[in-house]
Amino acid sequence: MEDILLIQAIERYLDGSMLPDEKAYFEQLRKNSPEIDQMVVEHSMFLNQLNALSDRQHFKQTLHQTHQKLVNEGVIDEGTIVHTQSKIVSLWHKYKRVTAIAASVAGAIAIITSAIFSYFSPAVNANQIQQLSKDIEVIKRNQQVQGNIINEVKSKLPENARLISGGTGFLIDPKGYLITNAHVLRGSGAIVVNNKGQEFTASIVNIDPKVDLAILKINDKDYKPLKYIPYNIAKNSGDLGEEIFTLGYPRNEIVYTQGYLSAKTGFDGDTLSTQIQMSAYPGNSGGPVLNKKGEVIGILSTRQTHADGITFAIQSKNIYHLVNHLNDSDTASGFSKIKLPAKSYLMNISREEQVKKMEDCVFLVKAYNN
């Protein structure tokens, strides 16, 4: 009961309906008793909360009324499109069976007609038949291409995965070991895609952010190991002025770019890398830089902003360091030692041939988070 009287007093105090004497007395009371003071503060906060809720409810109501009014006045247009759509859907529901029957009758007639036609038509010469089969070949190939697209749609990305970054990677061992840049693998996992659009799941075997290199292993039953890798990895960094080229995925498609070696060190005299003159785009990261003999002399990694065509590649000898280190240290089961390709099969053949031979070894790397 006393509580109620107190609350009553507090409420009257807060809404200012106390008489001056009473108010002075109450303020004195607040000063002397911290509990009462606390109660006043608490109650005032509580009432504010109630008032705010009241305001909000009132405002919500106003919003609804306003909305309705504007709809009636035609200022707001809601759902004429939805209406027509539902009409089509309902028509479809209504005539679904009729349509199905009509379609199957048409199909049956077509088959019978063609059977009769082929039975009664004269035999055609062999040449035409051959041409026909060629056509069928073409159709088959088209279907294969479509199949590929379907494969692409059914991505191997885990559900809810969000793509973080993409780059390029290339095989250094036919068993499925790839090298790429550490900065390409920013997410929690990665998949790789070959130049035909086929996706494979991959895991990170080793990553060294200092030299910005990483080794990926394709561990996907769909992956069929290649017989051999056509290029080898050079131990030296190449000569100034040497003509070089790269393959990479600045788009979803493999892209060829060429240039020349312009300096033996990288950005700011970095001795781990070299400078090359070539226009590179995001997505080229991790691509192999090859000389005309078909030796990988570097891994494309960065470019200088605001300067056109100045690109940097990590020297290929770093691949040896990384692989040797891994081969020496990793004794875990399931890891078979990486054997780097020793011989280039790309010498003395045209650039087109070189590219054709090696494009199966260059992959699009997609890093994701889930």
């Binding site: 109620i4 509580f46 405002f59 919500k60 106003t62 939805v82």
Partner: protein, 206 residues
Amino acid sequence: MTIFWVTFTPKSVLKVQPVKAELNEQALLKGLAENDTKAIETIYKNNFNMVQSFIINNNGTYDDARDIFQEAMIALYEKAKSESFVLTSKINTYVYSICRRLWLKRLQQMGRFVLQTDSLEETVQVEDDLEMHEKRNAEFTIMERALNSLGEPCKSLLEGFYLKKLDMQELAKAFGYTNADNAKNQKYKCLTRLKKLFFTQYNIGE
């Protein structure tokens, strides 16, 4: 009444004198904070269609558009009412930014990821405001939950008095109390209970 003469200024004049346009916006916001129906309607009219087309174009329905827009209006309303209120952008930029954030968030909750295509529309930072708004929403939820667990007639009595701001005399009559004093007593008892419910929940930490 300044609202009106500025509102009726011809558009061409507004373009030449941006100061007046700003004045107009200020007046609208002032009207909004004071629950002025004309001001609310004007802001609604000027912004709704833009938001609706954004949401429809991004996998939303007409109902979603209305929900999100009204949520943004509430955020703007409560911001306009606060003492520390300053308008740092134009109303339509602000409303659009809030709606955009709210909608992207809801899409993410539904597990649909949308690419954040950079639209040509200009947006402003609204993260802090939205955080405030969400905190307020949480507090209101606690209050509403506390009210609902009170039971009758306490709930209706308190709602009638504190939320619908009805007169005590009327309330007493409607509930069948013999006189207003009895009803008042009952109201205080209910209020004490509500307060206890509210603060236990509130202090547990939303």
